[in-house]
């Protein structure tokens, strides 16, 4: 183990950027968050060398956990090669001297913005979600002093009223992402802006789910094997997104699809949002209607 290797020569930064005191403070906050599933723990979030809103909470959580033996995966919108994911992956490769991967099952820490990978996570893996707004009630109540009290008293009526208003106005619950969940039947939690498609992946997961909000200075968590229920009504049950189409590259019928605009004549193609999931399927011989399309090789071309 040689943690100084990547940090020592050029810059005088600590291993994984944050100083040890700060990492200890963040670890204490993570432990508290795990002990009270779904509760937002205030923490002394620091300025990071990337802007607030670009993953500072996730980066701080990862920095507090990562060690030289970890294997780090970073995705944004499900893709390993989106610019911000590349930037954060390079950051940890540089300041933590850590191995990186695109392989979901190989990773020990997966930092993500907006998606949970399609492949079921296992014991020993940690999912770190970047969170822009940790407070699920914020759109209904602007004041932090109020929302903290609402959580303390488990006063979530306003959330159900909001869902009911959606049903009354549109005939359904129209929330597509950041769909509110109840954790361990106690705390209302925003699952970060993942599509509701990913909500069931948090329920009873074997992996540790950590949520870091840098700008808002909150950390929260779902420990393994915890009940996470997406809110709904008996007559309007929770359901996830479905598509009429399949992945044009790998033919997947059950993964979250991105819609890719091909021209301005209304032509579209649908491809897996989880790029690693898609490439694994293609390598295994699965093919969709547009298999061989340039999109499938975009990643290889960039490398």
């Amino acid at each position: 183990m040689n943690p100084q290797k990547s940090n020592q020569p050029a810059q005088q930064y600590s291993y994984a950027y944050l100083d040890e005191q700060t990492k200890r403070m963040i670890r204490r906050s993570i432990l508290k968050a795990l002990a009270i599933p779904g509760y937002q723990v205030p923490f002394g979030s620091r300025e990071m060398p990337v802007p607030y809103g670009w993953g500072t909470g996730g980066i701080q959580v990862t920095a507090a956990l990562i060690g030289p033996d970890d294997v780090f995966k970073c995705i944004d919108q499900g893709a390993d090669d989106t610019t911000n994911a590349v930037s954060i992956r390079q950051f940890f490769a540089k300041v933590a001297d850590v191995a990186t991967t695109e392989d979901t099952s190989e990773a020990t820490i997966i930092q993500s913005r907006h998606r949970i990978p399609e492949k079921t996570l296992k014991q020993g893996q940690i999912m770190v979600m970047q969170v822009p707004q940790p407070e699920p009630l914020r759109t209904m109540e602007a004041r932090e002093t109020e929302t903290r009290a609402m959580h303390a008293y488990e006063e979530y009526g306003v959330q159900y009223v909001s869902l009911y208003q959606s049903v009354a106005a549109h005939g359904r619950i129209t929330i597509g992402a950041t769909y509110p969940v109840m954790v361990n039947e106690r705390y209302l939690m925003g699952p970060s802006p993942i599509p509701k498609f990913d909500n069931p992946k948090i329920n009873q997961s074997e992996a540790i789910m950590l949520f870091g909000a840098g700008r808002e200075k909150r950390i929260y968590a779902v420990p393994p094997h915890t009940d996470v229920r997406s809110l709904d009504f008996e007559d309007y049950p929770f359901e996830v997104q479905t598509w009429d189409e399949i992945c044009a590259l790998c033919g997947s019928e059950d993964s979250y699809l991105d819609e890719v605009v091909l021209d301005d004549q209304g032509n579209r193609m649908f491809v897996c949002s989880d790029t690693h999931h898609c490439s694994v399927r293609r390598d295994a011989g699965h093919a969709g209607p547009l298999a061989g399309h340039a999109l499938g090789s975009a990643k290889e071309a960039a490398e």
Binding site: E47, Y52, T82, N84, K217
Partner: protein
């Protein structure tokens, strides 16, 4: 293809940064700016970067301004990100601004006050006419400033001492048994915020945001009509007690701007009527910001004292949560990051809703066509 551009990846990022460096340098036939030139000749930009960056280092601020191509908020961000990595070896003694070596000090409350009105180097009363001799490569050397005929009074009494014998102005008495001041760089925002937490947040806050809030309070969004009791700027000694010595030693000087705003009308209640006080203290020479800070302090204190919270400037959650430009700039600009996964979720919903809408329209039209209309019957 657009999608491939989104998936630009590592090579695209590296190329973008290389291009950025070229843009920063500008025309290579023009001599490169030296950080010392920035430090000496753009000193008010340096002050603002140090102030909002919460880090007093003129050379680093100059470097940040150069690297940020003059984008002050970007420079502030760089200084903050650097500052957060610095180890802490202690806290200084509280600064004594009465002993400031004032370069400028004016009071609007009295025609003259002990120590006098000292204009100092100020833009006030300059005519804002472009000086084209500066464009002609500097033109003639500026003549040096004149020396005063008499030395300035030192220490220069502050506005509090002027009012003290009548107790007309609310005092900011030191409270030796008060707990350690709140530190927003180590703890998250907490409400209700103490005055220590508020003043720290305001001192780090964005000058433009504070200015707008203070202005809104004067214009009717809040009932503030304060006057400037005193504004001064100059050097203040910083003292530190090293453990091995056990007594304070001077370790340096800070250039600070301090402002005391006085409420426009007497405050009373159960106490004898007196004027309220708002306080602003910032790094460097930033009069606009220190005045804004003091005015917001007054507005927030009025809300504490039971004034209706009926304007943004009186609402501490609104003021404190939105004054930090590093937070605000990052979050606003994160909207540039891809959001296509969430957008896809929204697209699915809106397409369903539209299909249902047109289905309802079609059904309604069919029903209308099948039944004779009321107007036809009337005809």
């Amino acid at each position: 293809m657009a999608y491939v551009a989104v998936k630009g990846g590592e090579a695209a990022i590296a190329n973008a940064h290389r291009w950025l460096a070229e843009e920063r340098r500008g025309d290579p036939s023009v001599p490169e700016l030296d950080v010392t030139q920035i430090r000496e000749q753009l000193s008010l930009a340096i002050d603002r970067v140090m102030c909002e960056g919460s880090c007093y280092d003129r050379d680093l601020a100059a470097l940040a301004i150069k690297q940020a191509r003059g984008d002050i908020q970007e420079a502030v961000f760089m200084i903050r990100a650097y500052r957060t990595t610095l180890p802490r070896f202690g806290a200084s003694e509280p600064l004594n601004t009465v002993e400031m070596r004032a370069v400028r000090r004016v009071s609007a409350a009295f025609k003259d006050i002990p120590g006098g009105q000292v204009l100092g180097p100020t833009f006030d009363y300059t005519h804002r006419l472009l000086d084209f001799t500066l464009a002609a490569n500097g033109g003639a050397e500026a003549p040096p400033a004149l020396e005063a005929e008499e030395p300035q009074q030192y220490p220069m009494p502050n506005i509090g001492s002027v009012f003290a014998h009548e107790d007309l102005l609310e005092s900011d008495a030191p409270t030796p048994d008060a707990p350690e001041p709140y530190d927003l760089t180590r703890q998250p925002m907490r409400f209700p915020a103490g005055r220590d937490q508020r003043l720290q947040a305001l001192a780090r806050g964005d000058e433009g945001f504070l200015l707008g809030l203070a202005y809104s309070g004067m214009r009717g969004w809040g009932n503030a009509h304060p006057l400037c009791g005193e504004i001064r700027y100059g050097d203040v000694s910083v003292e530190f007690v090293p453990e091995e010595l056990g007594f304070p030693i001077e370790i340096g000087e800070l250039l600070l701007t301090e402002c005391v705003m006085i409420t426009g009308s007497a405050q009373g209640g159960n106490k004898a009527p007196q004027y309220g006080r708002g306080y602003g203290l910032v790094f460097g020479h930033c009069e606009r910001k220190s005045m804004s800070m003091a005015m917001i302090d007054i507005a927030l204190k009025a809300a504490d004292a039971g004034d209706a919270v009926n304007a943004p400037v009186k609402d501490e959650e609104f003021v404190l949560y939105h004054s930090d430009n590093v937070e605000a700039s990052g979050f606003v600009q994160h909207l540039k990051l891809p959001h296509y996964v969430d957008f896809q979720a929204g697209l699915l919903t809106i397409r369903k809703l539209r299909a249902e809408y047109f289905e309802r329209q079609r059904t309604a039209q069919e029903a209308q066509a099948a039944a004779p209309t009321a107007t036809e019957e009337l005809v």
